[in-house]
């Protein structure tokens, strides 16, 4: 029986289906002061699937039936859309209500038009929309969203099951806000991203030392220590910026388990190189090569945040500058402190080797976890 049923599916690929899958159309106008108005057109067929409209089950949706279900429909759709407003330093959830119901027709049938009002409590420089309508019932559904600031038409974006969230910024000064927002995100990420910090620190442990006669010896001058540090940090920055950009532009795409596992392995190798530096003579080369992998990790974070509609370049720039700033902060705290204690046996004989062994242990656990998560 199953065989017969499945054979029915055969000719599917040679058929062009209707061209339009399910879409809803959401337009939001943002006024100064943060009041919102707008409309959300949702196909009656989709509302029937999500909530149920055809009460007498006669396969016809009448205006009376639609009106009768209005409260349930509004509850349902508004619970599946979250709008968050940001200005230069605050973030607020916006309220949203439907205060009118009309009907419109698009090429694939009749749509309910919900007239929306809302308030964000601040003059937003960007809105972040999180859209969840219908995905549990129709995985191909999309929300086509446009946010207009004042009278400026916005750029429509499509939100889908795989891409549910999007930040849409006001143009002009909004670009700077995007820059600032993503700069903060970049700083935040490097400061909470243990694996990146650990990798960087591991490479920098011996920046104030020099390997001579089978042991770590203190470097004599600050200048030498700074040059080594600069070399490592620059190499790391160049390559991770490169892959961050390539991945964000969609030119490189690796599965996240692979990237995350590889990052864990780079951390472990970095620590290993502190224990056996004779096998890793040029540390900046290691930073250069492994930076490629860490850049892909940054890109995954950035794509989770959702790229701002029109300004990929600004987003990337902001995020990258944030990462570099956070990195510089770590280096500026660590290297001078290490320089000061570089002559102590505690640093050379205990801190560097034991710290490195501990890092290898942590990195191994990460690597195993991340790899096994994929299998």
């Amino acid at each position: 029986m199953i065989k017969l049923i499945t054979v029915l599916l055969l000719i599917l690929p040679t058929l062009a289906l209707g061209h339009k899958p399910s879409d809803s159309y959401l337009t939001l106008n943002v006024e100064d002061g943060g009041t919102l108005s707008g409309q959300w057109d949702i196909a009656l067929r989709d509302l029937e699937r999500a909530v149920g409209v055809d009460q007498n089950r006669d396969a016809r949706v009448t205006w009376g039936e639609l009106k009768a279900r209005r409260a349930e429909l509004e509850d349902h759709i508004l619970s599946r859309l979250t709008v968050t407003a940001r200005d230069s330093d605050r973030e607020r959830a916006c309220t949203l209500d439907s205060d009118g119901l009309k009907v419109d027709h698009h090429v694939d049938g009749a749509y309910a038009v919900f007239l929306l009002t809302g308030d964000c409590g601040l003059s937003p420089l960007s809105l972040t929309l999180n859209y969840r309508l219908l995905f549990d019932r129709d995985a191909s559904h999309q929300g086509l969203v446009e946010v207009r600031y004042g009278d400026q038409p916005g750029q429509p974006v499509a939100l889908s099951n795989q891409h549910r969230e999007q930040t849409l910024s006001r143009d002009g000064d909004g670009g700077l806000v995007a820059l600032a927002t993503f700069f903060r995100q970049g700083v935040h990420h490097i400061l909470i991203g243990y694996d990146h910090i650990l990798f960087l620190l591991t490479l920098l442990f011996p920046a104030v030392l020099v390997w001579r006669q089978g042991a770590w010896q203190p470097k004599e001058s600050m200048r030498e220590a700074l040059l080594t540090t600069l070399g490592i940090v620059t190499a790391f920055t160049v390559t991770h910026s490169l892959t961050l950009a390539l991945a964000s532009l969609g030119l490189v795409n690796l599965p996240s388990w692979l990237v995350e596992s590889a990052i864990a392995i780079t951390v472990g190798l970095g620590a290993l190189s502190n224990l056996a530096p004779q096998y890793f003579p040029r540390r900046w080369v290691m930073a250069l090569v492994f930076g490629l992998i860490h850049g892909l990790g940054f890109a995954a974070v950035l794509s989770d945040l959702g790229l701002a509609g029109g300004s990929l370049v600004l987003t990337l720039l902001g995020f990258n500058l944030g990462v570099e700033a956070g990195q510089a902060l770590i280096v500026l705290i660590f290297v001078p402190a290490a320089f000061l204690v570089r002559r102590t046996a505690a640093y050379r004989r205990w801190f560097v080797p034991i710290g490195s062994v501990a890092i290898i242990a942590i990195a191994s656990v990460w690597a195993v976890e991340r790899l096994s998560g994929a299998l």
Binding site: I11, L12, A16, R45, R60, T62, D104
Partner: protein
Amino acid sequence: MPMTTSCRATTKGRGILQQLRRLALPGLFLFVGGAFGNPAVAAPYTPESDDQVLQRLPTPSVLDGADALQEKLADDPRDRDSAEQLARLYIQAARREGDPRYLGYASATLSPWLQASDAPPSVLVLAATIAQGEHRFTQARHQLREALAQNPRLGQGWLTLAVITQVQGQYEESLQACRRAATLVPTAAALTCQASVLALNGGLEPAYARLSRYADGAGDVADNVAVWMQTRLAEMAWQKGDLDAARAHIERGRELDREDRYLRHLYADFLLAESRPDAAIDVLEDYVDQDGALLRLAIAGIAAGDRRADRWAQQFRDRMAAAQRSAEYAHLRELARFTLVVEDNPTEALALARANWRTQKEPADMHIYLAAARAAGEPGAADEVRTFIAEHGVQDSRLAPFLNNGTEAGS
């Protein structure tokens, strides 16, 4: 010699442009987004009467069992058997109604299993079928490879792989997949699978002879397989230029299932080729909600001088604009045909046909590419099709006129 060079250069340039256009989704939005949310297109209104019917909901008969399955799933969300059955019903509904919404329903039904890292092979095969329907061929093949590596006894998986590879012109792979399916699916399906590939790969006459002999003698074939068999036979007969046989196969198929959309479109194309546009309109006019029907109605309408022709063309244009606003895939073959025949814009049609050729290589794709190239006054632009046809020994009476002209013009 300089001619050839400049011709290649333009070809290449246009190819890149085409790529850019398809890649730059945001650009597309801007381009066709002029009407977005624009109240001038149609203003929202308040209906006057409560009884006014706003929307008829489609109730495809294949979905009769869907509610019961839905309830079973609600009781036990881990009931994979019911989920697969329900997804199958949705895929069938998509195929019959030509409505991609049902594919979205099907993948939502399967998503609890698809999201797991160890999706069961039978679920992957269904997911691949959905991906195919949405023209995501690469993903479909990837899913099929994974499923068949886990369980090589999934006949449906091999058949689906055979169909995709055939559409993409990889006949060796397609034939192998048919052979792997042979012992796992009903004989009629296995034979149809093989004959379809062979008929495009230099073996048209024997493939047709064998399959039609089988069809005449076979008693106990399920209706759906029989329709598929007659459809393929009709296509092969048409390839051979035997129009009477093609008509007979179409009629036999339609006796088995009047509602088969693919066969209906084939029939309409056949009537159009026989210069009987009025008959084509009769066949299709009740299906204006389906894009494939609308495309052919627009073409037939012009040929027949029907006064609804403009309306059909406009409807098709509107649908395309709406689809481009959201869809990640476009049905370039249909769009190219519309652009050539209805819009009478061979240059644009040629660019579309060329872009379409990258993913689809069925005779219909060859035909539109060759026709657009000739209409655009540069028959040499479709030389990659001629090379493909020569390499694989594709035989098709509909293509013959272009091939002769092309060679003359090219040499």
